[in-house]
């Protein structure tokens, strides 16, 4: 009864067998839906890159965000409702982050999203939350997210932005007539930092003598160093993040660059300084949103440190960790003020909010939802000057949080 030629019969068999197991295959796909919290709980989604080059910063953010939630829950929650933090690994990938955020909104029905740690990732999360009218508090540095094109009335930017940190660092380290060279990671973060530095140099009157771009995640910087040295600058600005920062500074020191010029970075990272050690970072100056050593001069910082130590076996909070605390904390305060999770009321509450969670007074500017806050400028201590293992930096300046630190609303393209 062969009704087909042999060739088609062969595919017929594989096709038939292909379908034989379809039911079994689908059955194996079926799995119990993961449990969802009781409906009166306030759920906050927290996408962060637990895997990838920024994992150390992400883990600190999770610890601090959990602390903010715990402290509120200990006091009876927000408007009598318990708060739950749903942490998701965004793998430092914008597509993955968008998918995770969709899951958080569609399946877990979160009331707000806080998090993300790179420019591309937070812009992806911003796009998803904006379309679905979900509040998003971003805790990663970005200039783009404040500009009118990407602005969303649902999005608040708790982190510092490149304009703020580069400005503070430049004012501290540069003088009129100085020569400045730049080593920049070739991606959005690096470009925004470079733009910030050059703008600040313009006001100060410092001259750019060279810009060298390096690929994101580069392990070897040795080819760049002789070129940088030949430029004979007074200041070298290294604008990169995470392990790149540690690797670049390490190799700069190996080349003896520090004897020739001052090394400054837009953001000096607690974890990278720990990873590399005091000898390499000695004398490097950079901006920061937070440093635990602030506790000697600031009551809020002392309280925050104490709470963190109590919850984490005596450990101290880091700079990027503090973002997790203030991002989630400010959102919960606004929800408390709004008496619940109604989106419009919470937005109004966030716009009106004056909060002081880690380092002094902060508030969200109305036009672009950027958090107006102080910027610290830190200098890495040398080994002999360190009182203990955690005594990493000296605070050389703390620019008070005023709108002068920010670009104006009209410059960002917002209606004024």
């Amino acid at each position: 009864m062969p009704r087909r030629d042999t060739k088609l019969r062969r595919t017929g068999v594989s096709r038939r067998t292909a379908l034989m197991g379809m039911s079994a295959g689908l059955a194996s796909l079926a799995m119990p839906r993961l449990g969802r919290a009781a409906d009166d709980t306030i759920r906050i989604g927290f996408p962060t890159p637990l895997t990838g080059p920024f994992a150390a910063e992400a883990r600190d953010q999770v610890k601090c965000a959990e602390l903010a939630v715990k402290l509120v829950n200990d006091k009876g929650g927000v408007a009598g409702r318990k708060v739950e933090l749903l942490v998701r690994d965004d793998k430092l990938n914008a597509g993955e982050a968008a998918t995770r955020t969709l899951e958080l909104i569609e399946k877990d029905k979160v009331h707000a999203v806080v998090g993300a740690l790179s420019s591309a990732v937070q812009l992806a999360v911003n796009e998803v939350t904006r379309a679905r009218s979900v509040i998003y508090v971003s805790i990663s540095q970005s200039d783009t997210i404040n500009e009118a094109k990407d602005f969303s009335k649902y999005t608040f930017h708790e982190a510092l932005n490149p304009h703020m940190t580069t400005g503070a660092v430049a004012r501290q380290t540069m003088k009129k007539g100085m020569k400045v060279a730049h080593l920049v990671a070739d991606y959005a973060y690096g470009h925004e930092m470079l733009r910030g530095f050059k703008r600040a140099q313009g006001t100060i009157g410092a001259e750019t003598v060279g810009e060298i771009l390096h690929p994101f995640g580069a392990a070897d910087y040795s080819t760049f160093m002789p070129r940088l040295m030949s430029l004979r600058p007074d200041v070298l600005c290294i604008s990169n993040f995470g392990r790149d920062q540690a690797n670049a500074i390490k190799q700069a020191v190996d080349f003896g660059i520090k004897q020739q010029m001052k090394i400054v970075v837009p953001v000096i990272l607690h974890n990278q300084r720990l990873a590399v050690g005091p000898d390499v970072f000695e004398g490097v100056v950079g901006g920061a949103n937070y440093y635990w050593g602030l506790e000697t001069q600031n009551k809020t910082a002392a309280e925050f440190n104490a709470a963190f130590r109590a919850a984490n076996g005596g450990a101290i909070p880091t700079d990027y960790g503090a973002y997790g605390y203030s991002g989630v904390g400010s959102l919960l305060q606004a929800m408390q003020a709004a008496g619940g999770t109604d989106t419009d009321k919470v937005i109004a509450a966030l716009e009106a909010l004056k909060y002081d969670l880690t380092k002094g007074p902060q508030q969200y500017r109305k036009c672009d939802h950027q958090s107006v806050q102080s910027v610290l400028v830190l200098e890495s201590k040398k080994k002999s000057a360190m009182a203990n293992d955690n005594d990493l930096f000296a605070i050389v300046a703390s620019d008070a949080g005023t709108e002068d630190l920010l670009r104006s609303c009209s410059e960002l393209g917002h209606p004024t």
Binding site: R16, T99, L123, E127, A131, D150
Partner: protein
């Protein structure tokens, strides 16, 4: 699978006769299976991803599984489809139903370009050439940032409503979105099935089995390879368009060689050379990643170990192995 035993087929038991009927309607059955997906998986976003990657991997399977050409640059078509759909909607203001065919057409042209260059080589050289050309596309997207958004990815083309014959559909609703995107997948599945059932489908399998012999039979092997490369790129580009519509962003990572690697992993996991294998592969990979990363930040160890186990013990992938086991079971009965 010898051909001699076909003269007298033994009568099939009922269940197997049923499956034989189902096998004759593989397009329909595949679509029905996919239609059930949103209810079987932990989240709708995951189900959409299985759909998207299923289509991309299916397109890739035409090239790798059926023609035997191991390309390492398939992300180029996935990404180009996504970027062009996004740019057409967001920048040129085209409606989505015009943007998608445009994106697929352009990706086919890209397939012709990359295919013309790469199919002149074979083996590892073919893989390397496709990888290099795909990286070229990646760097174009990175550098042309005024067009593509560069590192930050393409944004600003959110499709929130879809007009279907006068009915306004809320495209942000996960289920609506799933079924609209499933329509794209259905077209891709049908096209793939038609290609494989045609004489051309037989020729590409002949090329995979024995290129010399196919050439000796009088087939223009080079031209067939080029055509299959273009078709494969076009089908993968449909997946790209679906991804753009789904996420409302196009991340630059979509063009990265890691995406190409993921596509190869998915096809190996599911089983190359099988019609439904790509969907099984995409589903297994994405579910593993999704579920394990909820449990532990060390999900890569778990997923990696499972993948290694599959490559070692089930070289034909989940679906391929399943298909192998079945006829034996039949003979035993």
């Amino acid at each position: 699978m010898t051909v001699q035993s076909t003269d007298e087929a033994p009568p099939l038991p009922h269940v197997q006769r049923l499956f034989a009927v189902l096998a004759d309607h593989r397009v329909l059955v595949s679509i029905v299976a996919l239609a059930l997906l949103p209810w079987l998986l932990p989240s709708k976003a995951l189900a959409v991803n299985v759909l998207i990657y299923g289509v991309v991997v299916m397109g890739y399977n035409l090239l790798f599984g059926y023609t035997g050409l191991l390309s390492f640059g398939h992300a180029a078509f996935f990404g180009t489809g996504a970027y062009l759909a996004g740019i057409a909607i967001g920048r040129w203001g085209l409606p989505w139903f015009a943007a998608v065919p445009l994106a697929v057409a352009c990706s086919t042209i890209l397939g012709a370009v990359i295919g013309t260059i790469s199919t002149r080589t074979r083996g590892i050289y073919f893989s390397m050439v496709t990888l290099a050309l795909a990286q070229l596309v990646y760097y174009v997207a990175l550098q042309a940032s005024s067009f593509t958004g560069g590192e930050n990815g393409l944004r600003g083309f959110t499709v929130d409503h879809i007009n279907l014959l006068g009915v306004q559909l809320n495209f942000l609703d996960p289920l609506n979105k799933y079924y609209v995107l499933m329509a794209f997948a259905a077209v891709a599945i049908w096209v793939q099935s038609r290609i494989l059932n045609s004489p051309f489908g037989a020729v590409i399998e002949a090329i995979r089995e024995n290129e010399q012999r196919a050439r000796a039979c009088g087939y223009d092997v080079e031209r067939c390879k080029l055509i299959v490369f273009m078709l494969s790129g076009a089908i993968s580009a449909i997946g790209g368009c679906m991804s753009a519509l789904h996420l409302s962003i196009v991340p630059l990572d979509i063009l990265h060689y890691q995406t190409s690697g993921m596509i190869v992993m998915m096809v190996l996991l599911g089983g190359a050379r099988s019609f439904f294998g790509p969907f099984i592969g995409a589903a297994s990979f994405l579910i593993l990643e999704d579920v394990v990363s909820l449990w532990t930040p060390h999900w890569q160890i778990v997923v990696g170990a499972i993948f290694v186990a599959f490559v070692l013990f089930l070289p034909k992938g989940i679906w391929g192995t399943f298909l192998d086991v079945l006829p034996i079971a039949r003979e035993r009965r």
